[in-house]
């Protein structure tokens, strides 16, 4: 009875029923969200344990290119288990005004796992839209004038992206006559022309609104400064990674030519330059973190643009690292939401928070023992090995961006440890609840630091699996409605024959 479709169906079901349940019993309604998230975690972890080989599941029971398939490999299941985990950590246990916010969060969780698992282009578009609408609602949930205005600009930019992505999907459908990613992968040679490549560019720009890709990230600083830190942490940490994941899938399966990689590389470089310079110039913590997140996602994009497995390893490592560090940093702004100047003395009022900030900042910069260093090292070696002028330029950009990053982050840290006015220092106190949430992220980071060797092996394994185009296609077309174990043995037999 174990089916991965529950990770999408359950949160949606709960979200639909939440208004009714909350009308009859408010206290019951409060337990539903965390319970559903735990169930989602259970379903995805159960598959994770069972999985030795990627499998695909045909929803609706239709043979793969006709129906919609969910593609389950280590990468998608990893994301599918991270989603409920991170949402459990950031769930608003204390300050719930009504069921609406909970409902939106559950919809966000359901659409996010759909996006991580789906192997169908239009289905990805639908889940992406669901994700967008839920995030609009959450971004406006503060109900200040500024939040409304920022969300409106976010919505318009996102809507523009939607149109571009839909146009791209239309172009791909006109040329290949299919929507299934694996099937598109089989027909990839038909897409290696101006129309096919511009379809890719349109989808990258369209989906890139959520992934904070360079020309369409104007909303980032505004929304992150007006939404509550929790929502910023979710959007910057989790949602942006899911959008990147979609682009990576498309890249691996259908666009392995150099043009697509160059496009990603250039967009990534521009993102790094724009993000890091703006972060350097910004005068308050929230905006500094938002811009730095743009820069970091630029690095992720650069990593994925390196051809082959090296790029995949570096990209996944950068992605996971940012996924842990950025939410932690954003949660710090819950009580440190002023300008950088007002942070003076913050270390005195809440020393633990300052230490955590230092930890995250050092890892973000890439100072040796921390996980961020290993991620950046993978990226740098990948760029050196690629060894073309463009990749070496990217390397130069990356290194100078690291210097800028070190400057502004350390500058902030120094300011925290300087003396501040007494009256101000009191206000900078972090509540124990927020500190607990931040510490969770810090503990994950430190655990990653300790278990670096096995983690690295696991990453290599995941990257090898998810950068294998033939494997993706074979897996999808092997999808039948059979129990997973049987399916795995079937695939093994097939691969022996081949």
């Amino acid at each position: 009875m174990n089916n991965i479709a529950f990770t999408v169906a359950l949160p949606l079901l709960a979200a639909f029923l939440l208004p009714i349940i909350s009308n009859s019993s408010k206290s019951a309604a409060r337990f539903i969200g965390p319970f559903v998230l735990l169930a989602m975690l259970g379903f995805s972890l159960a598959y994770f344990n069972m999985l030795e080989h990627p499998v695909a599941i045909a929803l609706g029971g239709f043979r793969p290119p006709l129906g919609i398939t969910f593609h389950l490999d280590n990468l998608s299941l990893l994301m599918a288990s991270i989603i409920p985990l991170i949402m459990l950590v950031l769930w608003p246990y204390a300050n719930i005004e009504g069921y609406r916010e909970e409902s939106l969060l559950l919809l966000l969780a359901g659409s996010a796992s759909g996006l991580a698992l789906s192997g169908d282009l239009f289905n990805i578009y639908v889940f992406y839209e669901l994700l967008s609408v839920a995030s609009f609602g959450l971004a406006a949930a503060n109900r200040t004038g500024a939040a409304f205005a920022a969300t409106f600009r976010y919505l318009v930019m996102s809507g523009l992206g939607t149109v571009l992505a839909l146009t791209g999907i239309g172009l791909i459908y006109t040329q290949t006559g299919t929507l299934n990613l694996a099937h598109i992968g089989l027909l990839a040679s038909q897409l290696n022309n101006p129309a096919g490549l511009s379809a890719f560019a349109l989808i990258v720009i369209g989906i890139g609104v959520k992934a904070e890709i360079f020309p369409v990230n104007g909303w980032v600083p505004e929304v992150y400064s007006t939404a509550s830190p929790r929502i910023s942490a979710l959007l910057a940490g989790l949602i942006s990674k899911l959008a990147v994941l979609v682009i990576v899938r498309l890249l691996v399966v259908a666009y392995q030519g150099p043009e697509a990689l160059t496009l990603l590389l250039v967009l990534g470089m521009l993102g790094i330059i724009w993000g890091e310079l703006s972060a350097w110039r910004s005068k308050d913590l929230k905006r500094m973190l938002s811009f730095s997140s743009i820069g970091q996602l630029g690095m992720v994009l650069v990593a994925f643009s390196i051809p082959g497995e090296a790029g995949m390893v570096a990209g996944i490592a950068m992605m996971l690292h940012h996924l842990v560090v950025k939410p932690g940093l954003f949660m710090l702004t819950e009580h440190w939401n002023g300008s950088l100047n007002k942070l003076a003395g913050a270390a005195k009022s809440s020393p633990l928070a300052a230490v955590l900030f230092m930890l995250f900042a050092l890892s973000l910069i890439g100072v040796p023992p921390f996980p961020g260093f290993w991620a950046k090292l993978l990226l740098v070696t990948g760029l050196v090995e690629a060894n073309t002028p463009l990749y070496l330029t990217a390397l130069a950009v990356l290194l100078s961006a690291t210097v800028i990053e070190a400057h502004y982050l350390m500058h902030t840290a120094i300011r925290m440890y300087s003396k501040g006015k007494k009256k101000q220092v009191k206000k900078l106190h972090q509540t124990p609840f927020t500190l607990t949430i931040i510490s969770v992220f810090a503990v994950v980071l430190i655990t990653a630091l300790i278990t670096m060797a096995p983690l690295g092996n696991k990453l290599q394994h995941i990257a090898a699996e998810s950068s294998d185009r033939a494997l993706y296609i074979n897996t999808t077309f092997a999808a039948r409605h059979t129990p997973v174990r049987k399916q795995i043995s079937l695939i093994k037999q097939q691969s022996k024959v081949q």
Binding site: T144, G145, A149, G159, T162, L166, Y173, E222, S339, K342
Partner: protein, 161 residues
């Protein structure tokens, strides 16, 4: 010849709608009008999808007694467009709700002014002296209040206007 013309008319129409819509979203100043332009761009993308499933001398994909051996158009893009039209109207409603609320708070529909007030609001809430405010006339420059929260920032805005 007619086939060529139909080809140009249909693709020209779809691409024209997309381009006009996008130009509208990027250049228009009025946020209400931007929502309209977005709807037009979406309509263009929908038309593009339906064209992808069309073929000449085919009938609609509905089986009736007389349609046994006739060619039919592709049902898949039609299903996709059904979905995307409904999605579009949902997003449009949300966008309009936001337009109404933005107008209530900022008393303007001009995207430039809204952007400026938004940056000032964010600056005020974090207590940073705005970069933009130096470009405004002195009378409109909000006072940098160290403890200013969103609400007070808005009240200042309302009072200044």
């Amino acid at each position: 010849m007619t086939t060529d013309l139909i080809h140009w008319l249909l693709y020209g129409g779809a691409m024209g709608l997309i381009v006009i819509g996008i130009v509208g979203v990027v250049t228009l100043n009025n946020i209400f009008r931007i929502v309209l332009a977005l709807a037009i761009a979406e309509a263009g993308a929908n038309l593009l999808l339906v064209i992808a499933g069309y073929r000449f001398d085919a009938i609609a994909p509905i089986l009736t007694g007389s349609s046994a051996n006739q060619l039919m158009v592709d049902p898949v893009p039609q299903a996709m467009v059904l979905t995307s039209i409904v999605i579009g109207v949902g997003i449009q409603a949300l966008a309009l709700a936001l337009v109404v609320k933005v107008y209530q708070n900022y008393k303007t529909l001009d995207i430039g002014e809204i952007h400026q007030q938004l940056s000032t609001d964010i600056d005020n809430s974090s207590g940073v002296i705005s970069l933009l405010s130096s470009e405004q006339p002195a009378g409109e420059r909000p006072l940098p209040e160290p403890s200013a929260q969103h609400e007070t920032a808005q009240l200042n805005q309302g009072g200044d206007k």
